[in-house]
């Protein structure tokens, strides 16, 4: 069965093209690009909310994009059980919509982080089922506001319901530290309660081609397709 997918583009998105290439390379179905002013999404299996600086990240990262016209139908898509993957700014947008718990605030050390980071699976979902426990993935990050924050009750909710998909971990560089940006419990990515929505700060769509420094990003989409 063919797997249909779509990528939403907002003004200021800059990873939408990479997400389209990622989907076209790894899925066998139609891949569509949807402008944020559209009222409805086509009937697809997966929607990627891509990285970038939507609306210049004015007010807060993802705040403006979370009020775009297309968002109502994105919420409908999630209610119907459709998959959503929010990457970087996409994760911030999904948090601002309220589809995911918590918020992403400025990196603890005030630096924009553009480098490879190391992550591993915390709890199982359709987005990481092909990844072994303790398998370390090398995937790049590029963010200024990737510091995941939530209050104690939401953190308990995330653990109790096993919604933490990925956590940062130490890698093979001697100077690599697990917690790159200050995130609570090293959280790099979380799902919603039904586990059909994943938001993550690292960019799997920048780690799958032979000329990339890692191909570990394949595992996330391949997990979903498996």
């Amino acid at each position: 069965m063919s797997f249909k997918s779509a990528v939403i583009t907002f003004p200021g998105s800059n990873c939408d093209r990479d997400a389209l290439v990622y989907l076209k390379a790894l899925t066998n179905g139609e891949v569509l690009n949807i402008w944020h002013e559209e009222n409805s999404l086509p009937n697809v299996d997966l929607v990627i909310v891509p990285g970038g600086f939507s609306f210049g990240d004015y007010l807060r990262s993802g705040a403006m994009a979370s009020k775009s016209k297309i968002i109502n139908d994105l919420i409908n898509h999630s209610k119907k059980g459709g998959y959503i993957l929010g990457i970087c700014n996409g994760f911030q947008i999904l948090s601002e919509i309220g589809l995911l718990k918590g918020a992403l605030i400025q990196n603890k050390r005030l630096k924009f982080l553009g480098k490879n980071c190391f992550i591993k699976k915390r709890y199982q979902s359709d987005f990481n089922c092909l990844i072994n426990k303790d398998q370390v993935l090398k995937i790049p990050v590029a963010h200024n506001e990737g510091n995941f924050y939530c209050d104690d009750s939401d953190l308990k909710y995330l653990h109790d319901n096993e919604l933490i998909a990925f956590e940062y971990c130490e890698g093979k560089f001697s100077n690599s530290i697990a917690n790159i940006n200050g995130s609570i419990d090293n959280i790099a990515g979380i799902t919603n309660k039904d586990k059909n929505i994943l938001g993550m700060m690292p960019h799997p769509e920048r780690a799958f081609q032979n000329f990339h420094s890692s191909q570990d990003g394949k595992l996330i989409l391949e997990s979903l397709l498996s």
Binding site: E96, G102, A103, Q106, D151
Partner: protein
């Protein structure tokens, strides 16, 4: 009527810019300026004909729907 809305990160959330500002002021010899936290101020006009209740409702709605993320921020209407 001109309205000012002060938005700040909740006190339990680290505000690293304030820490850096504090250090820079200290480097300039301006000591004893402690616990600096940076927030944001939004100013807007509301027609004078609106009653206080209408004004409050509109501002609350704007803050809750867009201006403030209450997971991390709190706000205060300065009038």
């Amino acid at each position: 009527m001109r309205i000012k809305i002060l938005i700040r990160l909740k006190s339990q959330i680290l505000e690293p810019q304030g820490k850096v500002i504090e250090k820079s002021l200290s480097n300039l010899g301006l000591k004893n300026l402690n616990n600096i936290r940076q927030g944001k101020l939004i100013e807007l006009d509301i027609p004078d004909k609106f009653s206080k209740e209408e004004r409050d409702e509109l501002i609350t709605s704007a803050c809750k729907k867009l201006l403030v993320n209450e997971i991390i921020e709190e706000y205060e209407v300065l009038g």
